[in-house]
Each structure stands twice: as structure tokens, then as C-alpha cells.
Amino acid sequence: MNSTDFKIRKSIFDKMCMIRFFEFEVQKNKKLNKIKNLIYLSLGQEAIYAASSVAIKKPNVFIQHRGHGPYLAFDGDPIKLRDELLGLKTGCNMGMGGSPCIFDKSKKIFGHVGLIGDQVPVAAGYCFVTKKTTICFFGDGAAEEDYVLATFGLAATKKLKIIFVCDDNDYSVLTKKKIRRSWNLADVAKSFKLNSLDIIDDPLTIYHSIQKLKNRLPALINIRTCREFWHEGSGKDKPNKNDWNRFEIEKSFFKKFDNVFLNQCIKKNESFANKIWGKI
């Protein structure tokens, strides 16, 4: 690995830590019943959002539930997010959206409004008018919605500067992908004339894939990942022999090659999250 890649990997890991320790606090406060609403944790999928945000600076961002991660990665305000989860007026949506619907128009971050994948066509329309690079996240379940698939066609026809990122954690609620469909999303995107890739959630792979595609938009990246907790709340999926924990993989890497950075990064982000959540 060259020094540039090593530096990029560190930046990505730093953001992964920020998301992860924030999410641990969310989980803890949910258990303590300080958060009384539904929560959708990004734990396990941090690498996708962290690497994307390092690869594309200040795009329009459209997200689904599990939106804490992308919100934080793309410079959302953690205090506003905390307040949103607590249902406070000082939240990024005045406490109205809660965990599944994270919006912050001042940051050009838009969530979904309760129908799975409904942000995808909206992202395309927004991109069409603003003509700015737009990144749109959704899950593998949302990818099956007809309006999501139709949007790929629209994006290709209108030649939009949009990159669709599918967080493919294999589950729609608790139903696995192989039960739900027989097709591959990247193949379908290709047939709509999108440039597409099907990759795993290795941070540098994500980073370089986006770098490769960001001047060839519209495009789609299907990123295989493992969520750590259920669709909603903090229940666990039954462990699968193919599952991996991307955070632990990255941690082991830095333990081996830059243990000082690892410890500093974890300590900094852990204390940042504690500081934010300690005030409630």
C-alpha cells in the first residue's frame, strides 16, 4: 500500500470511529430509555459512508433509514443529530423526523420520508436541477422498489451527475436477498446504461471505486456489507459464517501498522461521543 492510500485509509478510519462511537452512545441511551423513539443504527456499515465522504466532497446527499452514519460522515452536526434522536426542537428536523428520517437542508442532506427508497427519485430530480454531484444511498431492499429501478433509467436518460450507493447488507427487515430476488443489482444497473460495480465494504476499494466512477456518472455501486444490528433497534441477526466485522478488520490493520494512530483515533472519537451524549 502506498503512502497516499495509507493516509486515505486513516482518514476513512477516523470517520468510521466517529460514527461507531456515536452509535454506541445511541444504543446505550436507547437501552437507558433516554431515547424513546425507534432507532436504526449504522453500526457495521460505517465504512461505506466514511469512504464515500472522503471520496466525494460536499455533494448533495440523499439517505435512507440507518442515516446517522451518512449524516455524520458528510459533515452533519452531531449535536443536532443527538437532539433529533431525543425528539428535541433543536434537532436537525426539529425532532419531527427522528432516527429514520434525517434531514438537514443547510448541509444538502435529505432523508427519506417513510417509504423505503422514496429518496431515490427525489435525489434524481434534485440533481437534475442543481446539476451538482449527488450521492444517493439506499438498501438492498429498497433496490427492489419499482420506482428505484425506474430512477436508474431516468438518471441514464437525463445523464445525471448522480452516484447510487446500495448498502447491500443482504436483509430486508429479516428476509434474506436470495429469498426475495433472483437478480443482481449491478447487472440491472448496467442494463440501464449506468456504470456499475459490485464490491465489498473494504474502505479503500470503496474509495477507489468512487474515484473511478465519479467522472463517469451516472453510476451505481453495490457494496456488500454486514449490519451489526437488526432493521430497527439493537437486536442481532443470527451469525452467518460469511459475515465479517469491517471495523475489527480495520482495527487489526492499524494495530499492526500504526498502533499509535489507532489508539489516538479511538480515544479521540470515544471521548467526542461521550462528551456529546454526556450532556443529556
Binding site: 428536523n93 426539529m94 419531527m96 423526523g97 428520517c101 434531514f103 437542508k105 435529505f110 432523508g111 420520508v113 417513510g114 417509504l115 422514496d118 431515490v120 427519485p121 427525489v122 435525489a123 434524481a124 430530480g125 434534485y126 440533481c127 437534475f128 436541477v129 442543481t130 419499482d146 420506482y147 428505484v148 425506474a150 430512477t151 433509467g153 431516468l154 436518460t157
Partner: protein, 302 residues
């Protein structure tokens, strides 16, 4: 003679494109007729969507969030069913829930008759009144249309505009009608407004004067003092609409009026069945004869 409604809409649209850099979005807009001549025959900012209803509506909502103030055209109002989720779930909610607006001007065009049966027919504004955040109006005249357009441009709300094909070639401006001897009060919506004028002449011939109020804004619906005064005088009201009677805006208006007066307020609109293609299975805006008959029946009962 002034411009008819189609020409008025065409002019508003053209001005929006050239003066505001506004957009017109929809399916088959540039097909024969340019949506009954309501869309200017130009290329600038006319966005042709593929035949993907929900994605297309979502795309238009995204344009609205980006403040392009799109005019989103549904050539047939029955297409509202397929297009509704981004309009209702997203555009209507964003101001209240997410602190930003989605000003989208939704032109939903009702049509009926011609043996079209279940295909592309009728008027469906009522279900959309059920959800918060979506004002609804039904302008039938050039001046009304200009007024609701100005209202849209001054506000940041989405707006569902329930149009009716029958109005496009008309340049009439309706006026409310009030007589001190009136025996019945009509509140007319959409294409019924053309028929009530004829029904009124028929009722006049048998010595019955009536009050007529033309309703443009369906949601929010404001009860005016003159409505109350009229109903307290006639004690009978009929809300007329081109949409289904059951669980409708017209029933809601009738109920609101009854709660404020001592009158009985009825509704007359489409009956509770799906229209077929044969003439005997048509289900349409009440005709002037049907309005006359219903009014006469109510007056006889009294």
C-alpha cells in the same frame, strides 16, 4: 373576447419558463395537442418523463426541493393514483416535518364521457384532501387560474390543481348569485359549475330562485359569511362536485356548513360505482337535468 382557459394556462406556463426559468414536467407533453394546448410548443425547460409514474413524480418533487417550482402535469386525473406517494408522502410533508418546502404545482386533469369508461377518466381530488400539507383548488376560469397561480408563486406549498377538460375552451368568469327569495343554496365545484348555470335557468322557469356559490379553494375551505346567511335563509343546500360523493370533499364541506347553520346540506356528484364504457354505465358530473331533478325533489319534500 379574452383568452380562454387553455390559452391562459399556456401563457402562464410560457412566462414561468422564460421569466422564472421554471420547468414543466410530465409524460407525453409534446404529443399531439400539447396537453389540450395548455403547454407552449417549445423545447426550453420542458422535461419529458419516461412512463414511470412514481419515479416521475418523485423526480418532480426533487426538482421542487431544488426550488425549480415545477409545473407537474398529469394528463389524466386517474394517474394521481400511481403518482400519489411522492406527492403526498414527500412534497406535502416536508414543510411540517423537515423544515423545507416542496413547491410543486400539480396539474391533474379530469375528463369524462366519450365511452372512455374506466380508462383515464373522472375526478379524484377528494382522497388527497385527507392528508395534511396539500392545498387543493379547482379553478375553472382564466381569472381563477391566474389567481391560484399567483398564490402558488407567493407561497412555498405544493398545490394540487384539479382541472377539468371541459373548462379549457371556456372564457366565462362565474359570479356568485344571491336572491332574497332563494329556496335553495348551491355550492358548486369543478365542472358542475357549468351545469349549475343551466340548472338555475330551468329552476327559474318553474319559479324557483336559487343562490349559487362557486367554490375554487377546496382545501383549505373557508366558510364565508354569505354561505351562512344563504343557508339560514334557504335551509337547503347542495354541494355539487364532479368527483365521487362518498367520503368526499363535498361531503366534508356539506358537514362543515351544516354544523354552522340550521340547514340540511346534501351532496350530488358521481355515484358509488366504477364507470364502464357503455353509455348506460357512465358515471359523470351531474348534468343540469340531474341537478334540477334533485333540487326539485328536495323542494317537494319540504
Amino acid at each position: 373576447m379574452g383568452k380562454n382557459l387553455a390559452e391562459t394556462i399556456n401563457k402562464i406556463t410560457r412566462d414561468h419558463i422564460f421569466k422564472n426559468n421554471g420547468y414543466v414536467v410530465g409524460q407525453c407533453l409534446s404529443a399531439v395537442g400539447w396537453v389540450q394546448n395548455t403547454v407552449p410548443n417549445i423545447k426550453k425547460n420542458i422535461v419529458e418523463l419516461p412512463m414511470t409514474e412514481t419515479a416521475g413524480a418523485g423526480f418532480a418533487v426533487g426538482m421542487a426541493i431544488a426550488n425549480a417550482r415545477p409545473i407537474f402535469i398529469l394528463r389524466f386525473q386517474s394517474f394521481l393514483w400511481l403518482n400519489s406517494s411522492p406527492l403526498i408522502m414527500h412534497a406535502a410533508k416536508t414543510k411540517e416535518l423537515f423544515n423545507y418546502s416542496s413547491p410543486i404545482f400539480i396539474r391533474a386533469i379530469a375528463s369524462e364521457g366519450f365511452g372512455s369508461g374506466p380508462l383515464h377518466t373522472n375526478c379524484y381530488h377528494s382522497p388527497f384532501a385527507h392528508m395534511p400539507g396539500m392545498p387543493i383548488c379547482a379553478p375553472m376560469t382564466p381569472n381563477e387560474y391566474k389567481s391560484i397561480w399567483n398564490n402558488f408563486m407567493k407561497n412555498n406549498d405544493p398545490l394540487l390543481v384539479s382541472e377539468h377538460r371541459r373548462s379549457y375552451k371556456s372564457s366565462i368568469e362565474f359570479k356568485n348569485l344571491v336572491h332574497h327569495r332563494s329556496k335553495i343554496s348551491f355550492f358548486a365545484i369543478s365542472a358542475t359549475r357549468f351545469n349549475i348555470e343551466l340548472a338555475q335557468s330551468k329552476l327559474k322557469k318553474i319559479g324557483v330562485d336559487v343562490d349559487i356559490f362557486h367554490l375554487v379553494w377546496l382545501k383549505p375551505f373557508k366558510i364565508k359569511k354569505e354561505y351562512i346567511e344563504s343557508l339560514n335563509k334557504t335551509r337547503i343546500g347542495i354541494v355539487l362536485d364532479s368527483s365521487y360523493e362518498i367520503c368526499s370533499i363535498s361531503e366534508n364541506i356539506a358537514c362543515s356548513l351544516m354544523l354552522k347553520t340550521n340547514a340540511k346540506v346534501y351532496v350530488q356528484g358521481m355515484k358509488d360505482f366504477s364507470p364502464g364504457t357503455s353509455q348506460k354505465l357512465e358515471n359523470m358530473t351531474p348534468t343540469s337535468q340531474q341537478i334540477f331533478d334533485f333540487a326539485a325533489k328536495l323542494l317537494n319534500k319540504r
